[in-house]
């Protein structure tokens, strides 16, 4: 790729960002994704914390989990939608016949996901502050920015997995767009410290970068970190998995061209 190709490259990437943006704007379920479900989750968990009269650090622990979960969920959905929109509208072959590659649709949809994820993060952080007195400031802007970047990378990874599954299994895999994050909720310690998990499950939990990212961010709110070098390990894992996922996605695309799933999903 030469420098003269850059404008066309940018246009291809922007196409996916713009498409996700328009689709989000037009569809009612976007309101539910950004506002309704995250806020319902936040309010119900916050009220539970009130009812149990939890100490401030434990309350922050849980609210950080809820905010992170909402952010990751919305951002990864955008990445997953990059294929799912085409699958649902049976137009996948038109995207695949165009001269676009993995980087275009992933970067474009991820950018859309980061915008929406940032909105959810801001809404939930504001909601937490207003309803339950949660103060985001102790971590400081740099740590918040680092944490957000880490969450977005986690979301990219999950969205990538959904895309791989869609190319392998077709629209049977669309359920993964919603269920993979629930698996994270169970294993990465959204509502509880992973240290309470049974030993074999803890081993699994330690394989997920989100576990370390949450551990890192919570340490700014009076919660004892469970792992040393949590940010470095989390980022290391996420980069490793991203490389593996990108490789798997390129293989899945080659396999899709072999099995004809792109055609089947366009009929």
């Amino acid at each position: 790729m030469s420098l003269s190709d850059l404008p066309a490259e940018a246009s291809r990437t922007l196409a996916f960002l713009r498409r996700n943006w328009i689709m989000s704007r037009r569809n009612a379920f976007t309101i539910f994704e950004i506002l309704f479900w995250p806020l319902v989750g936040m309010v119900s968990v916050g009220l539970l914390a009130e009812f149990l009269s939890l100490p401030a650090s434990t309350r922050s622990f849980i609210l950080i989990g809820v905010i992170s979960m909402g952010t990751v969920q919305v951002c990864q959905l955008d990445v997953a939608y990059v294929l799912l929109y085409d699958v649902w509208s049976k137009s996948l072959k038109h995207a695949f016949i165009a001269p676009v590659s993995i980087r275009h649709f992933l970067l474009g949809s991820w950018a859309a996901g980061m915008v929406r994820g940032l909105c959810v993060f801001a809404i939930l952080a504001a909601g937490g502050a207003l309803c339950f007195g949660f103060d985001l400031r102790p971590a400081g802007p740099a740590a918040i920015a680092l944490f957000l970047a880490a969450l977005f990378l986690d979301a990219l990874l999950i969205g990538l997995c959904v895309c791989i599954l869609v190319l392998l299994l077709g629209n049977r895999a669309e359920v993964a767009a919603w269920s993979l994050v629930s698996l994270m909720m169970l294993l990465c310690g959204i509502y509880y410290p992973v240290t309470i998990l049974p030993a074999p499950v803890l081993v699994l939990a330690r394989l997920f970068p989100l576990t370390y990212h949450l551990d890192y961010f919570r340490s700014f709110y009076g919660v004892q970190a469970a792992f040393g070098h949590n940010l470095a390990i989390g980022n290391g894992l996420v980069l490793l998995y991203l490389l593996a996922s990108l490789y798997a996605l390129s293989k899945a695309m080659k396999r899709a061209a072999k099995t004809g799933i792109v055609l089947r999903l366009s009929e």
């Binding site: 291809r12 922007l14 037009r26 649902w88 038109h94 061209a257 055609l263």
Partner: protein
């Protein structure tokens, strides 16, 4: 010959099922050469392998065996370069349902790297070309089949392709819209001299549009050539009906070559023969020498439809 598409020994088998694997041989060793600038028709019954072959040439599908080149580029080695020069439109037009006609067009134009004023000019030009101006702000889900089909063709031109694949471009459309689409295809070909490969079930369409056709069945090309050659090759022949005015006995046509069958229906002589263009003069001379006054004459040429019915059966 300068070929836009050059496929040799293409084979494709689909395997379905996890435990009990089922194999469907969609394409079984197809050789196909399509010269640049021609409109080539792929005809065949459902499941013959037309769409599979089209998808292989359009780099959407990898062949199991064989080589295929589009504009001299191998489909397996340079799919990205090929994609810049080709495009596709399908009969069952499906695009993003929430996007308007214009937004859909802009989205695909951007995928081909268009931006800024070029993007705007291109989309505006295509909207105008396919009479879509009035519907540009209508969401795709709210469009009629005809509008969707015109959008599909407009989308297929966003990158000014050198090779255009049309998969049953008029399927499900009413005759008026079909005619307009066919006219648009001819105009596109004339204006841009692009190579067009189209699949169709509509024989009138194939006859009207295609310079050359191939009949495909069970994954193999059975016949290929000019529509007229194919009709001759199938030996279905032509039919001449001659009504005579006077009451003289109808003449015997014994000794005239190329006549397969002769029947008398009232005052009409119905003659089935190999090629009316070659035989008509001799028949008319024989009738004239017998003193028959011809009142009416009609010629029914074998249509591609007849060929297709015979072929598919």
């Amino acid at each position: 010959m300068d070929l836009a598409i050059d496929a040799r020994g293409i084979e494709k088998t689909f395997v379905t099922g996890f435990i009990r694997k089922r194999r469907t041989h969609a394409v079984r060793g197809i050789d196909l050469g399509i010269p640049r600038g021609t409109i080539f028709g792929l005809l065949g019954p459902n499941g013959a392998g037309k769409t599979t072959l089209l998808a292989i040439l359009a780099t959407l599908l990898r062949p199991d065996r064989g080589t295929a080149k589009v504009l001299g580029m191998d489909v397996l080695e340079r799919p990205g370069d090929i994609r810049r020069c080709i495009n596709m439109s399908s009969g069952h037009a499906n695009f993003l349902w929430s996007l308007t006609v214009r937004e859909n067009l802009e989205f695909y134009a951007m995928l081909y790297g268009l931006r800024g004023s070029r993007l705007r000019e291109k989309t505006q030009g295509l909207l105008r070309l396919f009479d879509l101006d009035a519907y540009q702000d209508r969401r795709f889900e709210a469009c009629s089949t005809g509008i969707k089909q015109r959008l599909a063709l407009a989308k297929a031109l966003v990158n000014d392709p050198k090779v255009l694949f049309l998969d049953e471009p008029t399927v499900g459309l009413d005759p008026d819209v079909s005619r307009r689409i066919r006219r648009a295809i001819v105009e596109l070909h004339e204006r841009h001299s692009m190579t067009i490969l189209l699949t169709t079930h509509n024989m009138a369409e194939a006859e009207a549009l295609c310079h050359e056709i191939a009949l495909i069945k069970d994954g193999r090309i059975r016949l290929k050539g000019l529509p007229s050659d194919i009709k001759r090759h199938m030996h279905l022949g032509d039919t001449i009906r001659i009504r005579v005015a006077n009451a003289r006995p109808l003449p015997d046509l014994e000794g005239l070559p190329g006549i397969w069958e002769k029947t008398v229906e009232g005052r009409s002589l119905v003659i089935r023969l190999d090629d009316h263009k070659k035989r008509l003069q001799a028949i008319l001379s024989r009738l004239a020498s017998s003193g028959c006054a011809i009142e009416d004459l009609s010629i029914e040429e074998t249509s591609l439809e007849d060929v297709f019915v015979r072929f598919a059966g």
